[in-house]
């Protein structure tokens, strides 16, 4: 979600947790994906595109709405829903931060283990030399 230029409203700062729960769920991710492609859609439209019932779509949209990831406007009998790109950007950034943390930890684990292993090998080699 590069290029999202909208400022996050002040009251939503630090509120990354609801975002995470909302977007981590695979079915909701699919709804988000379809909305990104279509720009705007109704629960019926989404249910036609996805293997979910209209009721299931509405439930997921409710979770996404509470997390601030989508916004709806009334158009006739149905609501039309669209992604709020700045909020989606915040959610993906948070997930990336956790993934980056694990990358760093694994890199350190690798360095430490390889250092210990190299030292053990050296110790073995000098012992063998002594015995010769």
């Amino acid at each position: 979600m590069r290029g999202a230029t909208l400022e996050r409203p002040a009251q939503e700062e630090g509120d990354g947790d609801g975002l995470w729960a909302a977007i981590g769920e695979p079915s909701r991710r699919r709804i988000v994906d379809v909305l990104l492609v279509r720009g705007e859609s109704t629960p019926s439209g989404l249910a036609a595109d996805l293997p979910f019932t209209r009721q299931a779509v509405s439930k997921h949209l409710g979770v996404l709405d509470r997390a601030g990831l989508v916004e709806g406007r009334r158009a006739g009998r149905e609501m039309r829903w669209a992604i709020r790109p700045e909020r989606l950007d915040a959610a993906t950034k948070e997930m990336r931060a956790v993934a980056d943390s694990w990358d760093r930890r694994l890199r350190l684990i690798k360095e430490i283990a390889e250092q210990i292993h190299a030292e053990q090998q050296q110790g073995k080699q000098s012992k063998e030399k002594e015995q010769r």
Binding site: D15, G18, P26
Partner: protein, 152 residues
């Protein structure tokens, strides 16, 4: 990332028993994670990762120990009297011998099960949680920077 999990892996030029030591011995965990570590290495054992400079303590519980193949814990993200799926995520390490080395894989999952409290305080606690790790690990990265090119 379409699922409720983060998966990462790396290939290490050291046998599984060496890698096992690095991820399970408190004196080694201190080198890649928190400056202070408490760990009772058995199923159900209590653990704590402590960052004294940030006054922060992450409590965890060991859920699986299978030396030298698998090690898993759940750690608490939300203050609660009892640790469970609603306030913690699961971290699983898997070690697989590959040639003379080890493939180490880590999966953190369960983010969607956590009932993140809506109030701002708790959100900030958790944000500090992640930032605290990053800051500390950033420091370590800088210290170890000289050897980075050799290892990776």
């Amino acid at each position: 990332m379409a699922e409720d999990r983060i998966e990462r892996e790396t290939l290490i030029d050291a046998p599984p028993d060496v890698v096992w030591g690095v991820i399970t011995k408190p004196e080694q965990i201190k080198r890649w994670f928190s400056p202070e570590v408490e760990l009772d290495l058995q199923q159900g054992g209590e653990a704590a990762f402590i960052f004294p400079e940030h006054g922060h303590k992450i409590e965890a519980r060991v859920v699986h120990v299978d030396e030298p193949r698998a090690f898993a814990w759940r750690w608490i993200h939300v203050e609660a009297p009892e640790l469970g799926a609603a306030n913690s995520t699961l971290v699983e390490f898997t070690l697989t011998a590959e040639g003379e080395g080890t493939r180490l894989r880590v999966v953190e999952s369960g983010f969607t099960e956590v009932e993140w409290p809506p109030e701002r305080d708790a959100a900030e606690v958790r944000a500090a949680h992640i930032e605290g790790w990053d800051r500390h690990l950033g420091d370590l990265d800088a210290l170890l920077g000289a050897s980075e090119g050799v290892a990776s």
